[in-house]
Amino acid sequence: MSFSSYLNGKREDCAALVKALSRRFSYVSVLGTDVRAAVYRADRKSSAAQDGAGECGFVVKMHDGRAFFEYSLDDISGDKEALAEKIAAAVAADPALESRMISTAALEDPPMKEDFVRETDFDSYDDAQLLGICRELSAQLCAADEKVLNAIAMIQPYVVSKLFVTKNRELTQHYGWANGYLLAIYQDGKMVQARHVEGSDKLSEIIDNLRGSTDEVLDLARHLATATPIEPGVYDVITDSSITGLIAHEAFGHGVEMDQFVKDRAMAKHCVGQYVASPITNMHDGAAAAHSVASYFFDDDGVLAHDTQIIKDGILVAGLSDLASATQLGTVPTGNGRRDSYKRKAYSRMTNTFFCPGTDKLEDMIASVKHGYMLFETNNGMEDPKNWQIQCTAEYGIEIVDGKLTDHYVSPVVMSGSVPELLKSISMVSDTFKVIGSGMCGKGYKEWVRVSDGGPNLKVRVKLG
């Protein structure tokens, strides 16, 4: 596995296009992307081995001392002067809008030339092996219990190559990630679906972990078949790492994406330096903050990856920014400018977002709950950064009675309420830590990027329904 030969051959074309457009704009960057993905999937009746959702193209970003301009295209071959003229004409605004543009400071372009690489083991496996492993896992689950109606096993590796060029910079990065999934469709009185998800840049790790998880998936399916609805109420709750990550992501992560500060869409803008969580709470985000699905070397604005501490001992200390929002706010960009693809705009986005571990033991945390639930596995969540409401859905919960986990499963479990109340209710933080790199995150209802989140177990008090 090596950096895209196609993009490698486009370094000079990018530089020439930057030069041609620099006669019209004070700042020009070209981002080239070549993302190759594959999907291997098997269930009881069907299988697939094919390319997944990749991309290959370019996005040109320009700044004229006032507003930002972007143009997305598939190829930059040919006459650069003619292409520059075409791009400038395409991104021109109606003259009536000229007077309504923002005005910002000039963008900096510090010199740098660097090639970043993180190796994977993807080349050690061929199509037949990966599809064979999916078939083996699906068959194993189907054979284990006649109540398994179907079982899906899937492995999805993808490899990223990106080239970023400005007048003074030429950066490349090359890395990969893979996810593995098991899903059992199980019927015992009622139909349920039990899942297991893995993420790593080592297929060997994913395969080992999937193979070691089939019993766990079946056990979960059997318990979910007995699950009942939860009695709505306010409870003491222990979160697993997945739900901890969901809280970090939805409750606070979106609220510190600083393009929302620019638009006055985030309450957090007014809370920097204030207590927003319990004093035992610490939270980070950054492509360089953890090794997971969103661990790139530079963002889609060419800003190097950061490790940003968002909450320190309960106090909000910093947000996450892309180039455009940092420029408007007069701050330093934090390497969080991310795009759905080269066809879409860069926004301030989370990367690897997590709460830091504390000092409590999980067994002590469970023992401290008279009546409550331990919640597991993210289903979905929705942010509300302006008004700090939260909705997070867990796949299931296990009832805790008198400090002990019972056999009573509840599903699904929707957690909702006020973000500050939830974060200030954090009373115990475990000494364990896990970041889960299998998620996709939208901004509102679009602009999907891969993210991870996680952390330790938390003890919180929250409304469940």
Binding site: S46, A49, Y71, S72, V262, R265
Partner: protein, 425 residues
């Protein structure tokens, strides 16, 4: 240089092929408050190729993208690799759709005007509603798209359809001396009516003002809850997804033909037709990604499952003579609920949810309510900070559907759905 089609036609290893090409041109404006922050344009083409290889009584397939950057040798290598992958895949045999040519555009008026001028007029229409004291539109994103999709296959399908569409994301905000609140709203259309856009945004401005005034009611309580078209669309979409050929073939479906989703029901019966076209919807289409001509299909009639729907391959697996194609719009027949009947008992009418939570397997419906109107039998007040939860089967059995209908994106059906005795916390 040989084209992709020529390379596929010349390859004796193939039992069939499909090429889907989507060309998209867009013009996009991003406003921060009333200032223009970013102007974007795109000109891209996505080409997807699927090869089919029959082997050992089975059919294998494999797909790959073709990028503009690829040479003839690159494409030939991708075909070879895909053939090898397809030989590993052993699915039950099926035929590709046969024959049929089409070149059509979905109805629109968005192609009559220069995109730059049109985008500015759309911005003006949105900001025309920004006249409420204390109100503002803190962010506005406008996306103008022209998508041209062409599907060709080895059995003679060659169909092209063009869709012009607009997506607006506007953030109505209200600020007073105590707080600042917002609602997230997106609007999608294929024909531009400035007065309609201004009226819709103005209504959202009034609603966000009400969110600022909203209070948390006394909870817990059990009360009737009204869903509007946007959420009804989600509910019906979830019920319909359970009935697609793929779900049925993989045994992931909960319901089968003949099942009554409203058994012993006392409310309005649910009749749902999956449709190719709902007027004004960006999801409207003449054919799907296989090139299958779309056929409207009634999947629920008076609460009972009457048919499945979906793509060609899984339709054939289920023995459907003429698969419906992957339908993306739906029509729900109106009910009998009048405004007078609605007002006969207290209810909470949801305006903005964090997202309707639906779980067919666990018989659950719920969600966090960001703004609702609570009618206590005499007066109506805005409420917030509450969540609802209920049993989906009970909701379906007792639900009432309004006489009045509304088109909301890909949904054409009752404007309101009344759920009885929902727990509010």
């Amino acid at each position: 240089m040989k084209t992709v089609i020529e390379l596929l036609r010349d390859d004796p290893a193939l039992s069939g092929w499909r090429v889907t090409e989507k060309a998209t041109a867009s013009y996009e404006l991003f406003f921060v408050h009333r200032k223009l922050e970013t102007v974007r344009a795109t000109d891209t083409v996505s080409t997807g190729v699927t090869v089919y290889v029959d082997h050992d009584g089975k059919r294998g397939d494999s797909s790959f993208p073709v990028y503009r950057s690829m040479s003839e040798a690159d494409v030939a290598a991708k075909i070879k690799s895909a053939v090898a992958r397809a030989r590993l895949v052993d699915n039950a045999p099926y035929e590709l759709p046969a024959g049929g040519t089409l070149s059509a555009a979905l109805p629109t008026d968005l192609d009559k005007e220069d995109p730059k001028m049109l985008a500015m007029r759309i911005a003006d229409a949105v900001y025309a509603a920004d006249d409420l004291p204390g109100g503002s539109i803190n962010a506005l994103e406008i996306f103008l798209y022209r998508d041209t999709v062409r599907v060709r296959n080895s059995r003679g399908v060659d169909k092209t359809q063009t869709v012009h569409r607009v997506m607006i994301e506007a953030i109505p905000t209200f600020t007073d001396d105590k707080q600042s609140v917002e609602l997230y709203e997106d609007h999608r259309f294929t024909a531009f009516d400035p007065e309609k856009v201004t009226a819709e945004i103005a209504e959202k401005m009034r609603e966000v003002r009400d969110r600022a005034a909203a209070q948390k009611p006394a909870t817990p309580m059990k009360v009737n809850v009204v869903l509007r078209a946007k959420e009804i669309k989600e509910l019906v979409g979830e019920l319909a997804y359970d009935l697609n050929y793929g779900s049925v073939y993989t045994h992931a479906n909960l319901h089968v033909i003949g099942d009554d989703l409203q058994e012993n029901g006392t409310g309005d019966k649910l009749t749902v037709t999956m449709k190719a076209i709902v007027e004004g919807s960006e999801n409207a289409a003449y054919f799907d990604e296989d090139g299958t001509e779309l056929t409207d299909t009634r999947v629920l009639e008076n609460g009972k499952v009457t048919a499945y729907f979906g793509s060609n391959r899984f339709g054939q697996y289920l023995g459907v003579e003429k698969p419906s194609g992957a339908l993306r719009c739906c029509r729900v027949e109106p009910g009998t609920l009048t405004e007078e009947q609605l007002a006969a008992a207290p209810y909470v009418e949801c305006v903005s949810l964090s997202g309707l939570q639906l779980d067919l397997y666990n018989d659950y419906i719920g969600g966090e309510i960001r703004l609702a109107y609570y009618f206590d039998g005499e007066k109506t007040v805005p409420v917030t900070g509450i969540s609802m939860s209920g049993k989906l089967s009970a909701v379906l059995a007792g639900m009432r559907l309004s006489e009045k209908t509304e088109i909301s994106g890909a949904y054409d059906g009752p404007a309101k759905l009344l759920m009885q005795d929902i727990a509010i916390l």
